[in-house]
Subunit: 662 residues, 2 copies
């Protein structure tokens, strides 16, 4: 875990620096050293005030050259992409996707991530970084036999790695741990919590050493507001929560519809072309608007910011009272200037643009994350609402709602806080996080005092979004990919019994079973050929049907193949036996084949009267793939995870066949 | 949950105000209105500087009267006490303690909590508040049939209530949720996380309305340091972590030894006397030392504080450079004055006193929490280390370790930060929290930038404490009480099988079973009388031993009693049957008794070859109390939770008989 945390963090640090440099490369170059980003280049500059900092002489803008944002993005296209978190989530639930966490994936993902994030497309880096971290985790756990041999232990390491991934993406160690707990992991024992915490500590520590954000604070979007919030403001905050929920619903529905279309039509055959087209459109539309031209992180940072006296941005272009001296902090509410009105229009356009382009971008064959685009949408909406409330309060401070808390000349409304709340609401609407969302917002902004607004927005946004559909974006993508994923969040409350779900159903041919000492090698080979089950229950005899164990198809095939090649006297009509002692056979019969080694003597069983509520619970908590059904020791049938999923879909009045399985 | 959150918060707010008032009542009284606390009394006073605030004329000190701190404490003794969190934890793991969450407990606990916390004893209020919250949760869930009838659902509500309890104790909503997740709850599904979050939101919201801390910040010990921390400081921080771990070990060992003595000797028979003696000793020893006289919360607050220019406290008595003007913030390191040296001595004495008295106080028959005393111990030690490092850096800034980061005239060391780190380390050593500890510290102090020091201290302290014994204080108390509690944190890695653990063992009489249709009422009554098992497996017949279900002892007794009273023809030699159809009986036999209704048709079974690792996992995750062992459908034996616990103790080389069970 030390290794994972360290390597992740170093990778993330390098990625951060590379992205900074590449993003700024689009705008200009540092004359003193070309590998410096804008901020680093001007660091040593003597201009100390904030306004002059942008004019530092060493930094040469390329504004005239109009370097297209897409140049790097095109490059990145088509390389191992698609959203990572749904896949990791499925892997952690026990499903195996081969090669997804390999060394090559790690290498390619790391390189393309830099290209993609700096390309200006509407995507974040937390998804790919979780993927990179899990690749690291997989690699390191393959080095230690304790983890490489035990699938469950390896999954615990991957959970911790996912935590480290989010931790390093945003410098939010605790938020990362909770994100892994709430969103990514399937089974999260306390041992894993403690491990994730350790991995996150190492990541946070290495982060401080590398210091990619260029300030001594470990916080990406540090905010410092000078006024508290007021009870009456809860109303717009909740409104922002509603907006976040609606955005989440809209995004999930449209994105899934678009991804489904990509999957089912010819569109999916041209992933490179798609990336080029989307990048080109993004670049062309984004460039004219200053709020879409700048990198999304910078945009969020600017929107979160409170307007201090030294702020030169367009968003802070308020009309100052000439009679008033200018204190550093605590500036009263002022009427908006021309710049603010221009900014409002540009923000409205940026909002529409971001909403549309994110829907089409997430799910393309490039590494993509959702946090930053979602937060940007929320921050834009929040800032606009904030400015609206601020101007309303300034111009109408005699209204009843404002009279109590907003005297003229006081600083009552902080539009940046609205942006922060909006960002939380939108992120919550898309991912349905609760606790981890609030903690991540704390760690991103340092705004610990605004816990009630953030929680209120998170709760509202989750409620609104859940009202339109229970699935978050990650579950929706898992569903879209047709993975057999048993969501831990759904409750199953129907009164069906195991006997209603198990196969064979009434009228179906009986269950394919092996007997413990009466089938020949040929019988078994025929059975394997004729069916495609993953394994077969082993019973005492066809008459008694008393269950003794379960044999995996793969191991059966291997054992028979090996025996036929290496063991003498094994022919097609050799008897196969699973007991300790060979059965008594007639004198001239061929040598029998002992297969007890491959027999799982502790298969999981339930009785036919077990309520399905319990069965679903067992499948979830123990991560089973199948379960045998018995009645007084006699084998009746089998329930697989897919049977459970189909039954749950049926009970929820969905078409059970709509659940695709790969 | 809305109700729970709201009621809890209101109760906690009332408790807070009452405690404030009672604490100050020991020192003096407000002349303008006796029900005001010191702070409220002086609120309207015209003295605005901090130094003069203490001299506000309306507040009349009673210093001469020497009001004994114990006066209120004595009162509180003997009322339903003992640490609450271990009990709640056991209840959440599935064990039933009758009456522990009743209405009377709620009432008495609320009243005594006020008395005890204001008595000046060395204890906190988070434990009792968790208890109060769980009582509320239990009460409200008994109103809704959905929760009152389903034990599992009710436990989920209790988990959420525990979260609300910690949330309201410290105004730490997210920390409370995580505390419930990490420390209190046994099974914490995501649904519960979301519910706890909602309860915590309501609590935080109501908290803001009541505002018991008297400032607009929702933070109990708000800190604001003006300098970052330096890498070299990690060394003392880790040292504090080691101290925290050692304190945790010492506290747990001594406290458990003392509680065991109380439990096993005649001492336990005089709980009221014990409380009076401890209170009297606490009062007499605590009074002379100013750091033990003030309330523990105030002490912690003072220790966490950075010395600003306006600070009048003894801890901030540094010698000012006369050439220097006094800026408000950013005061450079200065040599310590007489006051600081006095304070160091008094703090050292206070540290020893707090350590000793906390060991004897926690576990007495009064409501008691551990957070505040533990944090106080750590804060005292941390502040002392901090002042030491500060003076070392001031006097020896040419040493290699200081040369890099501590120029003369700079503000390098913040002793308050050391106090904060020390408090986290000591709390972590006692409770073994990780993520929740760091989040609670954030929420208590607002010090989000000090995440790496806090995490480093938490990790070190957990490591050190775990090296001396895996049990945290709550597990140790559960163990002491002899509850059958299967800790989710322990890993079981031995290669034993179910057959090694199940009873009957070799040579023991066979398992007491019921047959499905051949035993008479008298047979069963004899069996019930001769054994004390909680239930009996039901098999087809003694020959086949095929399992069909499980019958609870309690339900059997009830059913037979009812049948004998109300059902005609039921006599001692009536046949009892568990099948659908009555068995075929000789013509003159008495009327048989049908008992299928009380038969659990889906008892949990494993095969005799199941590894114990799997069995332990199943017991934990499904919260089982017993599990039947079969081989090819034939009943072999039974494994109860107590068997599992005994086996685990045996494998850990402990005496299995040392585990007491109530």
């Amino acid at each position: 875990l030390l290794l994972i945390g360290d390597v992740c963090r170093t990778l993330a640090g390098v990625i951060d620096l590379a992205v900074d440099w590449m993003t700024d490369l689009k705008e200009g170059v540092c004359l003193s050293a070309f590998w410096y980003s804008h901020e680093q280049c001007c660091w040593t500059s003597n201009e100390t005030t904030f306004e002059d900092r942008d004019k530092c002489p060493l930094w040469q803008k390329w504004s005239e050259l109009l370097v297209n944002q897409s140049e790097v993005g095109i490059w990145a296209g088509s390389w191992l992409g698609t959203p990572a978190i749904p896949h990791i989530k499925t892997i952690l639930s026990g499903f195996i996707i081969r090669g997804y966490l390999g060394k090559w994936t790690l290498l390619i993902k790391t390189v393309t991530l830099v290209l993609v994030v700096s390309s200006g497309l509407s995507l974040g880096k937390e998804g790919p970084l979780v993927h990179v971290a899990c690749c690291c985790g997989n690699f390191f756990s393959s080095l230690f036999s304790k983890y490489s041999k035990n699938e469950g232990k390896r999954r615990e390491v991957l959970s911790a790695a996912a935590a480290a991934g989010v931790s390093v993406a945003f410098g939010a160690p605790i938020g990362g741990v909770l994100f892994s707990l709430e969103e990514v992991s399937y089974y999260f024992p306390l041992k894993t919590l403690w491990r994730s915490f350790f991995a996150a500590l190492v990541a946070a520590f290495t982060l401080r050493s590398i210091n990619p954000f260029g300030n001594s604070r470990l916080v990406l979007f540090y905010v410092e507001y000078h006024t508290p919030w007021y009870m009456a403001e809860l109303f717009p905050f909740i409104l922002l929560g509603v907006f976040g929920g609606l955005w989440g619903t809209l995004f999930i529905r449209c994105n899934i519809a678009w991804c489904r279309r990509r999957k089912t039509t010819r569109l999916g055959k041209y992933p490179v072309l798609e990336v080029i087209v989307v990048t080109a459109i993004t670049a062309i539309i984004a460039y004219p608007n200053p709020y879409t031209r700048q990198s999304t992180s910078e945009l969020i940072s600017e929107l979160f910011n409170d307007c201090g006296a030294l702020e030169s941005s367009q968003l802070c272009d308020y009309i100052n009272d000439p009679n008033m001296t200018r204190p550093v902090d605590d500036i009263p509410d002022r009427p908006a200037g021309v710049g603010v009105y221009t900014a409002m229009w540009q923000l409205a356009l940026a909002l529409i643009f971001k909403i549309v382009v994110t829907i089409f971008t997430f799910g393309m064959k490039i590494p993509s994350g959702l946090f930053i685009p979602s937060m940007a949408v929320g921050a834009i909406a929040g800032r606009m609402v904030g400015i609206g409330v601020e101007q309303l309060a300034y111009h109408h401070h005699d209204w009843i709602i404002f009279r109590n808390w907003c005297r003229p000349g006081a600083d009552c409304v902080t539009p940046g806080l609205y942006a922060m709340v909006g960002a939380a609401a939108c992120l919550g609407g898309v991912t349905r996080m609760t606790v981890s969302l609030v903690v991540i917002m704390f760690e991103l902004t340092g705004g610990l005092e605004y816990i009630v607004p953030l929680m209120a927005a998170a709760v509202t946004s989750k409620w609104v979004a859940d009202a339109f559909g229970k699935e978050g974006i990650y579950e929706a993508h898992i569903h879209l990919n047709g993975y057999p994923f048993l969501d831990v969040k759904d409750e199953f409350t129907h009164r069906t019994l195991a006997t209603d779900v198990m196969r064979p159903r009434r009228g179906e041919p009986p269950l394919s079973v092996l007997t413990q000492d009466s089938m020949t090698v040929e019988d078994v080979e025929t059975l394997i050929k004729e069916t495609d089950y993953n394994g077969f229950p082993v019973v005492v005899s066809r008459d008694s049907e008393r269950l003794i164990g379960f044999a995996q198809r793969r191991e059966l095939i291997l054992a028979i193949k090996n025996a036929r090649q290496r063991q003498e006297g094994i022919v097609s009509n050799s008897i196969m036996y699973f007991t300790e002692e060979p059965p008594e056979l007639p004198a001239n019969s061929p040598h029998p084949l002992k297969l007890r080694r491959i027999l799982n003597l502790s298969p999981f069983t339930v009785t036919d009267h077990t309520p399905m509520e319990t069965v679903v619970d067992i499948f979830r908590k123990l991560g089973l793939r199948q379960c045998l059904v018995t009645r007084s020791g006699r084998l009746l049938g089998i329930i697989t995870k897919k049977d459970v999923l189909r039954h749950m879909a049926q009970m929820a009045n969905q078409d059970p066949e709509s659940i695709m399985f790969n």
